[in-house]
């Protein structure tokens, strides 16, 4: 792998993780805030709120995982490496 491809892969890996984590981070923060407020208001609905939070977190965090996978593939199993 030549130096330009290596440098571009490292930069792309950093961008993939960094930019890919912004949206899910904001979404998870607001979802957790709403869930904790809901549990405080209705403790009897805690199980349902936590279950729904688990579903939404799993789907939101998968977006971060996509970026993470792209970054790790670029770093450790780069298809553009000659």
């Amino acid at each position: 792998m030549d130096s330009i491809t290596t440098a571009a892969s490292v930069v792309a890996a950093g961008l993939a993780v960094g930019l890919g984590a912004i949206g899910p981070g904001i979404g998870q923060g607001s979802a957790a805030q709403g869930a904790v407020e809901g549990i405080a208001r209705q403790p009897e609905a805690e199980g349902k709120i936590r279950g729904t939070l688990l579903l939404s977190f799993a789907f939101m965090e998968s977006l971060t995982i996509y970026g993470l996978v792209v970054a790790l593939v670029l770093l450790f199993a780069n298809p553009f490496a000659g």
Binding site: A32, P43, R50, L54, F57, A58, L68, F76
Partner: protein, 171 residues
């Protein structure tokens, strides 16, 4: 969490707050005079106890929800593994099963951190993100494991969640 000793120590505080609130409200003093000595001072602590019992029942509901997701995830993994063995080679099936068990581990860690949210921690832990990292590193180091089946296996938790959400009667 408030234990029984904490509950008894909170009771005078709650009673004094209730009395202050009633005094400040219109006709509050009449209510206090009419109900003095009738045993209504214990009502706030009884309400707190019943809220705690309901919260514990509701958390049990969350634990059983996790168990149902786990079972559906195992069934989906088994079906996907059998289909992979039939239509592809054994290496792909091994990779898919490894990815699927990584996905189950990831979901368990996520459920655990969500379960402790608001109780022992104020934010959701990111520890579960180490699971896909370790999976990709294993794929890059071991020649037996293939990348694409492992990723598909890891993401099998998503159809499991969708199936469980559709099967849930009150969802």
């Amino acid at each position: 969490m408030v234990d029984s000793a904490g509950l008894w120590s909170m009771e005078p505080l709650l009673a004094s707050r209730l009395a202050t609130h009633l005094k400040n409200s219109p006709n509050g003093e009449e209510y206090l005079c009419a109900n003095s000595g009738s045993g209504n001072e214990l009502e706030p602590s009884i309400e707190i106890e019943s809220n705690q019992i309901r919260s514990v029942d509701s958390f049990d509901e969350y634990v059983s929800f996790q168990r149902r997701i786990f079972r559906v995830n195992l069934v989906v993994t088994a079906i996907a593994g059998i289909l992979t063995i039939i239509f592809f080679d054994s290496n792909a099936a091994i990779s898919l099963l490894l990815g699927a068990f990584s996905g189950i581990l990831y979901l368990r860690l996520l459920a655990k951190s969500i379960g402790s949210l608001g109780k022992t921690s104020s934010s959701v832990s990111k520890f579960q993100l180490l699971v896909p990292v370790v999976l990709i590193l294993a794929v890059s180091k071991l020649a037996v494991i293939q990348l694409l089946p492992a990723l598909v296996g890891f993401l099998l938790y998503k159809p499991s969640l969708i199936i469980q959400f559709l099967l849930e009667p009150s969802a």
